[in-house]
Symmetry: C2
Subunit: 148 residues, 2 copies
DNA sequence: TTAGCTGCAAAAGGTTTGCAAATTA
DNA sequence: TAATTTGCAAACCTTTTGCAGCTAA
């Protein structure tokens, strides 16, 4: 069924006139195999196990292309490098400013907020591209005790 | 009253043991004079009109320091450089992914959302550090007509 | 006087680009 | 064959850092 998922993506690429190269196939495999959010650097490392001569610039180019085709999205969780994942299973991220911990939310959680912004500003919001920053429970407690 | 605002910030710096240098005073003036969101580069340009030999690295260092003191915040509106503004008047940004247009919201608009995240995840969210991406009305209409 | 700040220059980190060679269809 | 894709290396952009000299208190 992983193979199946790969086949489906490849189909979509062919349908849009892309050529299926070793690097593309390997990157799609890596994206499907990886569980969560991966940086370009991590993807490169994964792919280098099997294909050590794929250049990181190639990976950035393929990711760009996949993103334009709506197959992949990238997310900014914090100040570091962007992370990538398949566009299916897009979700919202709460990221703790102190410890960097991540809570993933189903997009539905922000629906009422999105509706509010749509009604008031005609703005169709996507909460998925940037994280929502803040403090997790642990860091709230810690900063309180630091104060005292 | 601008002078007054400057004086207040300088007081806070002194109270925390900072030295008041030409660069610091000029940067505070620039921040108070600038209307909205400014990048470090824009601040540098502004300051160079009066003080051409202040280094950009100095500006980054002072901004860091002011941020640690809670006087300044930086915000990521999109993929470009961070923008800075005084911590007073902190607000939420809706940024159009297509045209880059910005809508500023009073923080109160996200209060109910914040309450929801607090109740469900004990997460104290700050919607001010990253923008909320999406599509503004104009770009929604444009992309619809591009489809057809 | 002396700690804190600054300028300069260089480096770091993430991402993009130019170009000739390789590869896909 | 012809156009797309790639590897390599270099550039780019924003931000950080090391260090010696300057300056505010």
């Amino acid at each position: 069924m992983v193979d199946d998922a790969i086949g489906q993506v490849i189909e979509r690429l062919r349908a849009r006139g892309r050529r299926i190269t070793v690097a593309r196939r390997a990157l799609i495999e890596a994206l499907i195999a990886e569980p969560g959010h991966v940086t370009a650097e991590e993807l490169t490392a994964t792919m280098h196990a099997q294909h050590p001569d794929v250049a990181e610039s190639t990976i950035y180019r393929i990711l760009d292309d996949l993103e334009q085709l709506g197959i992949v999205v990238h997310v900014h969780l914090g100040h570091g490098p962007a992370v990538y994942h398949l566009a299916t299973g897009s979700h919202v991220h709460l990221v703790c400013d102190d410890c960097g911990g991540i809570i993933e939310l189903p997009s539905a959680v922000v629906d009422s907020m999105a509706a509010q912004l749509r009604a008031a500003f005609h703005f169709e919001s996507r909460f998925t591209h940037f994280s929502i920053g803040g403090l997790c429970q642990g860091c709230q407690l810690r900063s309180r005790s630091d104060d005292g």
